[in-house]
Structure formats: structure tokens, C-alpha cells
């Protein structure tokens, strides 16, 4: 049994910002997207702050090397936002990069070495075409087995999906229901790459067909649309296009401060009360394929540190790089028993008005997945929701005071879980 860990001193999030996620032209640099996020963060700090007081920059980024031909990106960002000569560090743990940067910032502040850390992430992916991006992402797989087998990340998660379907009777429609929910949430999020619900997309596609002089397509409902192979082609069966997160550009950041000074910045700090992280084997080496053990271990560490149980969580942001990943996370985080997440999905329990809203910002599916920015992007959403500042997608149920983020790298071979509290 791992020992129970606790923070050396309390840490709070006191500001948060996001660039709009989407496809920016070539030549727009990832570091400029970070400036967008940072400017939004600055205006979010109610009582203001002096950037000169930032002790360090912790930046998640997976492959500025291959996407932008730039390395040493953290000091470059520090330079852009004017905080040189403060230490600036890049973290790379596949799609958990900024989740790890955030957690390391918590550890640094709780150790007492720093008081204020800017943690964030960025990725400018769309300079490369989809095949090239796929190759960059695939570099997070096992070069001796998964790459020679022809695996892709949609394929890896599709493989987890077939294991889950065989074990629990999960159906492809359950994955589609998650996509429908997340797209609806994304339609309410002005920062989202896809700010359109599935019905919105159906209307747009029908209109576009008519405009091209083609017969107007009709679908009885979202499910029929999502079963239409022309509209929703298979990427890696059973994962179709609308089961996959988007390749896009974006940046995210949050300002972290030691608990004893947090109220100097805002009357509504959001406290980090638990954090956990774990690693895992490549997929085939795991005992269990229908769940991700690293999520269970990281979650247990975070819950124990926070002194809360999964049933106490009011709102969650989970890593839905593919719809199956959201479903499996719902079980591994302990919100539902193994094989029972589908019941909640079918009953709409995780919608904005449900018992446990999940991915209120549209998730990686609709908000977008600029990989290095995603982990902190989730924290930005929990910060807004717990402060009641999420606009039209604000969860309206009372006492939304405890939130959770779950950020995965690659096949879940890195998992970071954080628990947040409004006091």
C-alpha cells in the first residue's frame, strides 16, 4: 500500500485563462496562443497581481520540436510574457503534459520553495497534416510492439473499447451518447473548437448539401446521423470520427498561490485539496484491459489526500480523447461501478443538469484537444464552474463546491487526478 501523502502547505488557484481552441494559420506561434491565455488569466485575477511576483513558469508541451521546430519553449514563453529571468520549465508526459506541470507546481508551492507559480500548456498542432500529426502522437507508443502492429491512438482506445464491450455489454450507442452530450456542452463554450451541438452540425451538413445541389439528407435523430458512415466514418472500429477529440491549437494557464496569500489575489480562491499521479505499462502488458489502473491509483491518492470519496464530487472534467476514455474514467474514478457507467450515460446523469455533470466545457471532444494545453484546460473549467463564472454552461445545481480533473497521457500510461474545493 502506498503511504498516505499530504501537501506541506495549502495551494489555491487564483486566476485562469484559455485561448480560443481551434485551427490557427501557419505562422501563428504556440507562444502567442499562450499570451492569449495569459491575458485572459490576468483579467480573471479580481484583485490584480504583479507579474514580477511570479516565481516560476511550469509549462506543458508535447512536441513544439516537431510541430513548430522549436525547442526550449518554456524560456521562450517566459520571454514573451515578460517574466524573464524567472525559472521556466517544460514538462512532457504525452497528453498529460500540462496536468503534470500543474501538479508539479502544486508540489513546488507546498514544499515552500515557491509562493506563486504560473502553470499552463500549449500546443500548435495544425502546422502538420493529419497523417503527420498521427505520427507525432504515435511516438508515445511502444516502438517494439504497438508501432510495428500498426496501432494508432484511436486504435489503442478502440482496443480498450472492444475489451469493455466484451466484458460488460457496452454498445457503440453509449459512445455516441457521450459525443452528443459533449458537443452540446461545447456549443455553449465560446472557447471551444467545435462550438456546435450534433443537431447544429446536422443542420449545417444538410444546408451544405443543398448548396452543392445535392439531395437534402434526412436523419431521424442524432443517433441515425451518427450511424451514417458518410457523416461519421469509422476511424478505428468501434471509434468513429465523432468519438475522437479534435486536432487543434490552443493554450491554457492558471495562477497558483500558497494558501496563506491566496486571498491577496481574490476573495474566491479555489483550493487544491488532493492530487495524485501514477504511471502504467503499455496496453498489452496490463492485467486488465477494460479499465486503466493508473487512474484508480492516482484517484486513490487524490481522494485520500483530500479526505473525500468519489460520491462527494459535484462536477468533473475527465480525459475524453476518445469517448471510450470518458466512459472508462467514470468507472476508474469510482463515480460508477465497473460496467455501470453506461446506465448513467443512458439516463443523462452527466449532462449539465444531471446529478454529476462531466465535461461541461465540451471536453476534449468538442472544446478541442491541443494536447499540451488540455490538462490545465480542465482546471480552467473547474475554476470557472466552482466560482459560478461559466456563463451559459454554468451548472445550476446548488453547492457545486467540489470538483475533480482527470488528465491522461497516451494509453493512460500517465494519469494525473486533482481535487478542488471552493470554501
Amino acid at each position: 500500500m502506498p503511504k498516505k501523502r499530504k501537501l506541506g502547505r495549502g495551494v489555491a488557484v487564483v486566476g485562469a485563462g484559455l485561448s480560443k481552441f481551434g485551427i490557427y494559420p501557419k505562422g501563428v506561434r504556440g507562444q502567442d496562443l499562450f499570451v492569449e491565455a495569459y491575458n485572459e488569466l490576468r483579467s480573471s485575477v479580481d484583485k490584480g497581481f504583479d507579474p514580477g511576483d511570479i516565481d516560476a513558469l511550469y509549462l506543458g508541451n508535447i512536441s513544439s520540436d516537431l510541430f513548430e521546430r522549436q525547442v526550449h519553449i518554456a524560456p521562450a514563453v517566459a520571454n514573451r510574457i515578460g517574466i524573464v529571468p524567472k525559472p521556466a520549465i517544460r514538462f512532457e508526459d504525452a497528453c498529460a503534459a500540462s496536468g503534470v506541470a500543474f501538479r508539479e507546481a502544486i508540489i513546488a508551492i507546498s514544499s515552500g520553495i515557491y509562493d506563486i507559480v504560473l502553470a499552463g500548456g500549449l500546443e500548435k498542432m495544425t502546422n502538420l497534416d493529419t497523417t503527420q500529426v498521427t505520427e507525432v502522437l504515435a511516438a508515445a507508443m511502444d516502438p517494439d510492439t504497438e508501432i510495428p502492429a500498426g496501432e494508432t491512438f484511436p486504435g489503442i482506445y478502440a482496443t480498450i473499447a472492444t475489451a469493455h464491450m466484451a466484458k460488460y455489454g457496452t454498445e457503440v450507442e453509449d459512445f455516441m451518447r457521450l459525443g452528443i452530450k459533449n458537443h452540446y456542452n461545447g456549443s455553449l463554450n465560446p472557447h471551444a473548437h467545435f462550438d456546435a451541438s450534433i443537431p447544429d452540425i446536422m443542420k449545417r451538413r444538410a444546408a451544405s448539401a443543398v448548396k452543392k445541389g445535392l439531395p437534402e439528407p434526412h436523419w431521424a435523430d442524432e443517433m441515425e446521423f451518427l450511424h451514417d458512415p458518410k457523416q461519421n466514418p469509422v476511424i478505428a472500429w468501434p471509434m468513429r470520427l465523432f468519438d475522437c477529440s479534435t486536432i487543434c491549437d490552443g493554450a491554457s494557464c492558471v495562477l497558483l498561490a500558497a494558501e496563506d496569500i491566496a486571498r491577496n489575489f481574490t476573495d474566491k480562491p479555489i483550493f487544491v485539496i488532493g492530487t495524485g499521479q501514477a504511471s502504467d505499462y503499455f496496453l498489452a502488458e496490463r492485467k486488465e484491459l477494460a479499465s486503466i489502473r493508473a487512474t484508480k491509483l492516482a484517484a486513490r491518492e487524490a481522494y485520500e489526500m483530500a479526505g473525500v470519496s468519489p460520491q462527494d464530487i459535484k462536477i468533473a472534467e475527465v480525459h475524453d480523447c476518445f469517448t471510450i476514455a470518458e466512459l472508462v474514467a467514470m468507472e476508474d474514478l469510482g463515480f460508477y461501478k465497473p460496467g455501470e457507467a453506461v446506465k448513467a450515460i443512458r439516463e443523462g446523469e452527466n449532462r449539465l443538469d444531471g446529478k454529476l455533470p462531466i465535461n461541461t466545457d465540451g471536453g476534449l471532444k468538442a472544446k478541442g484537444h491541443p494536447i499540451g494545453a488540455s490538462g490545465v484546460g480542465m482546471v480552467v473549467e473547474i475554476f470557472k464552474q466552482l466560482r459560478g463564472e461559466a456563463g451559459p454552461r454554468q451548472v445550476k445545481k446548488k453547492d457545486v463546491d467540489l470538483g475533480l480533473t482527470h488528465n491522461a497521457g497516451a494509453h493512460g500510461s500517465t494519469i494525473v487526478v486533482n481535487i478542488f474545493q471552493r470554501r
Binding site: 500498426g150 472492444t162 475489451a163 469509422v234 472500429w237
Partner: protein
């Protein structure tokens, strides 16, 4: 020279990647069994993940097992696109549990990739190999390479 000896020692270490791939090219799938606790690692690991022992011996897999999870890929990896797979020619890859107990990710042949929903988990499979020619990349020379594959038996 001593330094050169060290290079060849690493290059020839049977528990490292280079040796695993050399054995594959000779149509041998090798795992490593821990002498201390008996745990089987596939591909071989230089250190046992169960007991941390570092005395492991190679063991050739018999090559029979069953399919425990899979996918049929339409948007192929660059490697598979180079072999002509992709949108117009889907391929199956999956995880095989061998009779020896270890699992491994590999290409799967002998299944109908046009009906992925009909591929059955539990299908018995047997070791097979695929040879294909590829351009050079940072870890391979240009030329023919051998890929691990399993053939569905029913």
C-alpha cells in the same frame, strides 16, 4: 578496445530491443522469464517488473493463444499507409494472450475487416509473420522488416 566492447555488449544484450527485433526477423518470438520469481515479460525486460530481479532468461513463445481485444483501423498509421493500408484497405490489430500467459500487441490476419463487429474476442490465433519493405527511419535501416502477426484460426 574496452569502449568498443561495451558498445557491442549493449547491442548484443539479449534482453534489449535490438535483440528482440533480430529474433523476430528469424521468426522467433522471445520473452524473458525471471529466474527468481518466474514472471514472464513479453517483449523481454532487462529487470523483472514483479520482483525487480535482474537475472532473466530468454524463452521462446510457442505461438498459440487467443484474441482478447482488437480494433479494425481505417485511418492507418504512417507505417501501414506505406504498406498500402488505410481508408480503402482496413487492417486489424489486437492483443493476443498467449498460452504462456503473457499478452502482446500484434497485427491480426485471417479476420474479415469489412465486418469488425463480427470478430470474436476469444478467437484462437497462431503465430505468423509479415515481411514488408520500408524506407529508413531514425531507428531502422531501409529494407525488409519482419512484423509480428497472428492468424485467426476460426
Amino acid at each position: 578496445m574496452a569502449l568498443e566492447n561495451k558498445f557491442s555488449e549493449v547491442a548484443e544484450n539479449k534482453l534489449y530491443s535490438l535483440a528482440y527485433n533480430k529474433f523476430l526477423s528469424e521468426h522467433k518470438l522471445m520473452g524473458a522469464r525471471c529466474k527468481k520469481c518466474g514472471h514472464l515479460s513479453l517483449p523481454p525486460k532487462p529487470i523483472c517488473p514483479e520482483c525487480h530481479g535482474n537475472e532473466l532468461e530468454l524463452e521462446e513463445m510457442k505461438g498459440r493463444g487467443k484474441l482478447v481485444a482488437y480494433t479494425v483501423i481505417a485511418v492507418g498509421s504512417p507505417l501501414m499507409v506505406e504498406e498500402g493500408y488505410g481508408r480503402g484497405k482496413h487492417y486489424c490489430c489486437g492483443i493476443v494472450e498467449l498460452e504462456e500467459g503473457a499478452k502482446i500487441c500484434a497485427r491480426i490476419s485471417g479476420v474479415d475487416t469489412s465486418k469488425p463487429e463480427q470478430i470474436k474476442i476469444g478467437t484462437p490465433v497462431e503465430l505468423d509473420y509479415v515481411e514488408a519493405t520500408h524506407a529508413a527511419d531514425p531507428t531502422h535501416e531501409e529494407g525488409e522488416r519482419t512484423f509480428l502477426s497472428f492468424k485467426a484460426l476460426s
